[in-house]
């Protein structure tokens, strides 16, 4: 008799990897577009970056609802500081993935450019046009994004460390399209 070890649900796995892909897209677009000279391409990329940002925000909101209604699979036994660090990193990432799109939306409003999701749905301007506020929000958006990148790097390194050095199922339970590992018999 073998017992399948618990994995994340299909919904959680889908949301996780979609978010991961969109973060890569969003950061790449963001870093590339800011250096461009004003051109139609630049305006297009800014819009795409904003659409991706709004999508990430919606995905993360959905994930937070998932988290509130599902317990994630338990962590393997290990030092307590690692378990605390893992939880802390997860919650900081959630917080950043909410705050970064929000700061971008506010920045856009402050610069007098509304966000129009997919060119169809115009989001309300939460602040009035105010260039200096826009400059502050731009720095905040950037600082939060670089903080997130550092935490994502930590998150990836930790997952790989579990997978390759500890050889446990921490990464496995979040991988799509794999069969659950079976409980190893002692």
């Amino acid at each position: 008799m073998s017992i399948a070890r618990p994995r994340y649900t299909v919904a959680a796995i889908t949301l996780h990897w979609l978010t991961a892909v969109l973060i890569v897209a969003s950061v790449s677009l963001g870093l590339y577009m800011v250096g461009l000279k004003l051109s139609p391409l630049k305006l297009r990329l800014y819009s795409w970056h904003k659409w991706v940002g709004v999508t990430i925000f919606l995905l993360v909101a959905t994930r937070l609802i998932w988290r509130a209604t599902h317990a994630p699979p338990p962590l393997p036994a290990g030092p307590r500081w690692q378990q605390v660090a893992a939880a802390l990193n997860h919650w900081l990432l959630y917080a950043l993935l909410v705050c970064i799109p929000l700061s971008g939306w506010l920045m856009s409003s402050a610069y007098g450019v509304p966000v129009v999701y997919f060119g169809l749905i115009q989001l309300p301007d939460l602040v009035a046009k105010h260039k200096e506020l826009g400059d502050v929000l731009k720095q905040l958006h950037k600082a939060l994004a670089f903080t997130m990148l550092a935490l994502v790097a930590l998150h990836v390194i930790a997952a790989l460390k579990h997978h390759m050095m500890d050889r446990d199922d921490v990464l496995h339970r979040m991988l799509p399209l794999v069969k659950p590992l079976e409980e190893r018999k002692p």
């Binding site: 004003l38 139609p40 305006l43 450019v113 129009v116 060119g119 169809l120 260039k131």
Partner: protein
């Protein structure tokens, strides 16, 4: 040249004194208080409405709500005074492919007719010249009397490519829409404060 200018001045003075001689009745406005006036525009980039304005312009007008068809207006806009909301865009739109302000520093509107649409609403038609290209435009507007003056407010849409505004790569209207909304507000006064 000097003679022509002198003649114009004499005519203007004559016209002004004629006005006061016949007793400008309440409601007729003959000048514009620029500080209380505004010319703004809304362009759409990737379907995102972005508002901008012109900081410098001048306007001459005469309007009497009792005889709207006698109304006339001339507006001259200093295109280099454009404020799009970002320095980068301000520089860009002054360049050759956009307004080409070096060769065409001003845009000009000269009315040809004004008619009443009823209930305080009117319509002005005339020629708008930008970048050396003239097009007929009509703009509905409202007029509200206040004291000895009154406020004109209106809007109309123009197609930027009709005037060659945003050529080359920028002529792609999927990114920057062809249609640009122009909004104006002019504070009319009974007499020019400068005279």
């Amino acid at each position: 040249m000097t003679f022509a200018r002198a003649a114009v001045t004499v005519c203007a003075v004559l016209a002004a004194s004629l006005c006061s001689a016949t007793g400008a009745h309440a409601g007729r406005v003959t000048a514009v208080d620029i500080d209380k006036s505004a010319i703004a525009f809304v362009s759409k980039q990737m379907n995102v409405p972005v508002e901008g304005k012109f900081r410098k312009f001048s306007a001459q007008l005469a309007f009497d709500p009792a005889q709207p068809s006698q109304g006339r207006v001339e507006v001259e806009v200093d295109l280099a005074s454009i404020d799009t909301g970002s320095d980068e865009a301000n520089d860009e739109v002054k360049s050759k492919g956009w307004f080409d302000v070096k060769n065409h520093p001003t845009a000009r509107f000269v009315s040809s007719s004004v008619k009443s649409l009823g209930a305080g609403r009117y319509e002005v038609a005339g020629k708008l010249t930008i970048k050396g290209r003239s097009k007929d435009v009509t703009a509905p507007f409202t007029y509200k009397s206040a004291g000895t003056g009154g406020m004109f407010e209106g809007a109309f849409a123009l197609k930027r490519l009709d005037y060659g505004i945003g050529e080359g790569a920028w002529s792609d209207t999927d990114t920057v829409a062809n249609e640009v909304q122009i909004k104006f507000r002019f504070s009319g006064t009974a007499a020019s404060p400068r005279q």
